[in-house]
Symmetry: C2
Subunit: 190 residues, 2 copies
């Protein structure tokens, strides 16, 4: 027994995990569908049944990513500083998802599994921005400013551009950055 059943039974999840690992090893395009299928012990066309094509697999990664992302931001609570830190933490802990999510040419952003989750995340981010500025004309700018900083730090960190600072914990670092830049206009518990 234990010999592979005709129906894998779990192929979708296994392929997703294999893709996440491959992305972590060699970037979001540095691998082949056939090799993932081989690792999963399945023929190279089997995944097509679950994802359609390679883009479909990446679309599934992005969809799962935005889901997890929205959940992580929600769990961070209402404080904008915590949201920023959660943003960075997500990028570091789910780097494979993250590296696909913000590269829309790799997948189908309009896919019904992607768009709503992305919108959910965006809503939380802009809610966080409102905490930074009571002036509605400004909170959009504040939102984009904070979002940009969290995103840029995460991206630079993941790409290794901040390698000389690699000894310190990214989340702690992110908190410092955010405080430095936004602490002065953070009217806490508003």
């Amino acid at each position: 027994m234990e010999q592979p059943a005709y129906h894998h039974g779990n192929l979708r999840r296994v392929m997703l995990d294999a893709a996440l690992q491959a992305i972590g090893e060699s970037g979001p395009t540095g691998w082949s569908l056939r090799e993932l299928a081989r690792r999963a012990g399945v023929s190279h066309t089997a995944p097509a049944h679950h994802f359609g094509d390679k883009t479909g697999l990446l679309t599934a990664v992005a969809a799962e990513g935005f889901d997890l992302f929205a959940a992580a931001l929600e769990a961070a609570g209402g404080d904008f500083l915590d949201v920023g830190v959660a943003y960075v933490r997500f990028a570091v802990r789910h780097r494979s998802h993250f590296q696909v999510m913000f590269r829309p040419e790799l997948y189908r952003p309009a896919d019904p599994a992607v768009a709503p989750a992305r919108a959910r995340a965006a809503a939380i981010l802009s809610r966080g921005g409102r905490a930074l500025s009571p002036d509605p004309a400004r909170d959009r700018v504040a939102t984009v400013a904070a979002w940009s900083m969290a995103h840029g730090f995460a991206d630079l960190w993941l790409s290794g551009a901040l390698a000389d600072a690699a000894e310190i914990d990214p989340e702690t670092y992110a908190r410092e950055l955010t405080t430095l830049a936004f602490g002065h206009l953070h009217h806490s518990k508003a």
Copy 2:
């Protein structure tokens, strides 16, 4: 006359330009070497002589990118706000270069044509950070904060994540963001 000479005479530059255009159209990995060669009217192995392989071509793009980048930052002068705006301007105007430069798994970061130019750019950025904080213990944090914001805004902009704000000029927007976040600790003309 005008018929293609055996020696193209200019292949290196033509291939680089073709690559930049292809990257602009479909991302840093959404094209094939063979198609670029076809566009250049040359056999599919001709480029190998100039770049070695596909990674070599991307390495050349990154090298040129960091050169232009360092020059652009230098030209921005000493004011950190101007450096930040120059950062964003470079990303928007040289988006193909930019999209390769910070994705080191796509090329050979240690290549002698890349590393010095990148170091040059990094030096200017950290000089800009010092203008933000006279305290040497803090200027590193300030540098990374400003760098993160400029980088994140550029990346989000290029990826289309800020699409709802697309009507406004990115450089102007970048200036607003930077002022909001760092204006309070900017001791101008220090």
